[in-house]
């Protein structure tokens, strides 16, 4: 076991897979020689050569399309989109092409592409470097959507994504790249080295697609979330002294309804949380499905903790971010009901 932050863990996943499988290639804007603006692809070009880890022109549609073409010819491309906020020029290639190739060809052509992209706020990124656009991608039949919350999962999930026969949009919450985050903006950056999930095996292992993780057991309320908010929810429950069960979804599509339903049927209370704006967010899908599954076990309306229906502000970033106070308010509301 080694201690890794999330960047090192993701880099290790790519390294392990490129070592094992000569068809795995990695590319993106600044992702070749320099190793990516967040350094996730560092040293891969040096180790595996120019044709396996290379710089791409600034054209997200072309990056996704190139990956589709390569995958159709048997490669396993891992394309980096530098910020999730920049993914939209590539959206047509994802929605109309990548997601449907297996379907529209009745399985005769497939494109097992992984698109990695850093998402989320908390790094003073302003409106163009802070988005959590995962909900858009959960609305596209044919793609899988994943978002890890710690280095151990990040590596095992990325390896699963690369090995999957179907495309994966892999969101990396960049606030967690260098250390865990409890949602208190003023606090010093802590280190993944002191967190149990910062212990990461150096070799190959997988965290399966579609399996959630109960990261905190409890009986009073279930909090279902993913990415940065997994850690914020845990910290908020500790601070409030609430016996909350926190579920880290890890895979959004297809999400693990069994684990969620088991927990909500036990606690009878539920909060769904996302960093993205509230309206039509993924939390809305979770709330709808949970009430279908668990209506007669629910003792209170499901609460949502989300960002606001505004763009991500720069100066008032921490008024936007759904921090511990908002979780505590939601826990109070759902427990008092």
């Amino acid at each position: 076991m080694a201690t890794m932050n999330m960047i090192q863990a993701l880099n290790s996943a790519l390294d392990v897979m490129m070592e094992r499988d000569g068809d795995v290639v990695s590319f993106g804007e600044d992702a070749g020689y320099f190793g990516g603006v967040f350094r996730v692809t560092a040293n891969l070009q040096k180790k595996y050569g120019l044709d396996r880890s290379f710089d791409a022109p600034i054209n997200e549609a072309a990056i996704v399309a190139m990956a589709i073409g390569m995958a159709a010819r048997g490669l396993k491309p891992v394309a980096e989109i530098q910020f999730a906020d920049y993914i939209f020029p590539g959206l047509d290639q994802i929605v109309s092409e990548l997601s449907r190739l297996r379907y529209r060809t009745a399985g005769t052509f497939t494109a097992p592409v992984v698109i990695r992209t850093p998402c989320g706020g908390g790094i003073r990124g302003g409106q163009t470097h802070s988005m959590s656009p995962e909900a858009f991608f959960t609305h596209i039949p044919g793609v899988q959507v994943m978002m890890p919350s710690n280095p151990y999962d990040a590596k095992g999930m990325l390896i699963s994504a690369i090995e999957s026969p179907d495309p994966v949009i892999f969101f990396e919450p960049k606030r967690l790249y260098n250390g865990p985050f409890d949602g208190h903006s003023g606090g010093a950056l802590s280190s993944w080295g002191k967190h149990p999930k910062g212990e990461v095996p150096e070799g190959h292992y997988t965290v399966p697609i579609g399996k959630a993780d109960v990261v905190r057991e409890g009986n009073a309320v279930t909090i279902v979330t993913y990415g940065t908010l997994v850690l914020v929810a845990q910290a908020a429950a500790e601070k409030a002294g609430v016996d909350a069960e926190v579920i880290d979804l890890r895979t959004l599509v297809p999400y693990d309804i069994e684990t969620i339903a088991r927990s909500v049927n036990k606690t009878g209370r539920c909060i769904v949380a996302q960093e993205a704006p509230r309206t039509s967010g993924f939390a809305a899908e979770l709330a709808a499905q949970i009430q279908e599954e668990c209506f007669y076990a629910l003792e209170a309306p499901i609460q949502r903790v989300t960002g606001w229906d505004t763009p991500y502000p720069h100066a008032h970033e921490w008024s936007y971010f759904p921090g511990p106070e908002r979780f505590i308010n939601a826990m109070n509301a759902v427990l008092e009901a």
């Binding site: 399309a65 190139m66 491309p77 092409e97 060809t105 052509f109 039949p141």
Partner: protein
Amino acid sequence: MAQDEPRFHVPAPHVRPGDTPDFSHLDLQAAGEAPRPDPSVAGMETRDLALGLIGVLDHNHQAVGDWDPKLQPDVLREGLRHMMLTRAYDDRMLKLQRQGKMSFYMKSTGEEAVAVAGAMALDKGDMVFPSYRQQGILFARGRNIVDMMCHCISNSRDNLKGRQLPVHYTWAEGNFFSISGNLATQFPQAVGYAMACQYKGDKQIAASWIGEGSTAEGDFHGALVLASTYKAPVILNVVNNQWAISTFQGIAAGQSPSFALKGIGYGLASLRVDGNDFLAVYAATQWAAERARAGHGATVIETYTYRADAHSTSDDPSGYRPRGENEIWPLGDPIARLKNHLIGLGEWDEARHTALEKEQNELVIASYKEAESHGTLHDGPLSPVNSIFEDVYAEQDWRLRRQRQDLGV
């Protein structure tokens, strides 16, 4: 009230419905005039070829100039046969659509040489990424006509399980990629595919086709950037058939005098070719394929042609262009030109031509009868209903399993 003069420039065609068809404004280089450089030439050196017009068949139907591919009569007859069958098939399918036998159809009339000569000049192992008007490739590669029809009528034998609009073919065994319908998306995909061919160390290349109207899409430019940056073994064909549904080519061309010229800005070898000249399309494709296979990179080929019929069965061209334009198109008809060339060589005659037409029409009619025996969109049988939940992913997750059960299948 409309302004007398528009306040900004909006290009317009020379003639509109009610006007006399007229192409006298076109200044087209004569067959045989364009020089043929070595396929290893630097891309920038092809600028004059991007502005000119590569042609082989002259007004007397003789093959002239450096670009003459000097094909054997058998190959010429094969090309003629594929183009004629493409047309016979299109004509029959249009009639069947009008009879309500299928939801939609798109003909390639007048553009048969673009697809057939392009496909014949490639290896059968090369992957093609067509748009929706290159059905000629399927004939050139020998696809079963009954299978094509079963797709178009979405019946129980449709290899795409009824998921695609008619003419949006896929044929993996024939190295024919899936036709999207979203314009230009296949162009940058073809570049990625070509790069993967190089990565795998084989001599396979990729070729793609889009219409001139689609060059306005970002994916056209993305494809050219990728092809140039990575020197990919790909042929990027722009089929300039003058019309994007009702929109004339000038709306996409703007002030650019040719679509091939756009490739020069990316440093790519770029050729403009008489798209109704089977020999010219063949020769240009052969040149580009040789260039790609030798590692000299991509070629942009503008095939200059004319969409002789409607965009699709949902379109009526009399609303935006004069009737009869196709009859005076200065580059003529690709089938008539190759036929006359073969007759001039003493390798073909009217009687054989008429007999072949009859034979092909009968084949098409018989093929449809057989296709219909496997069902039609209207009366079935179709692919099983539960197939709508298949192939979304390699395996059905709980959502799809439940939804399939909700539908009761």
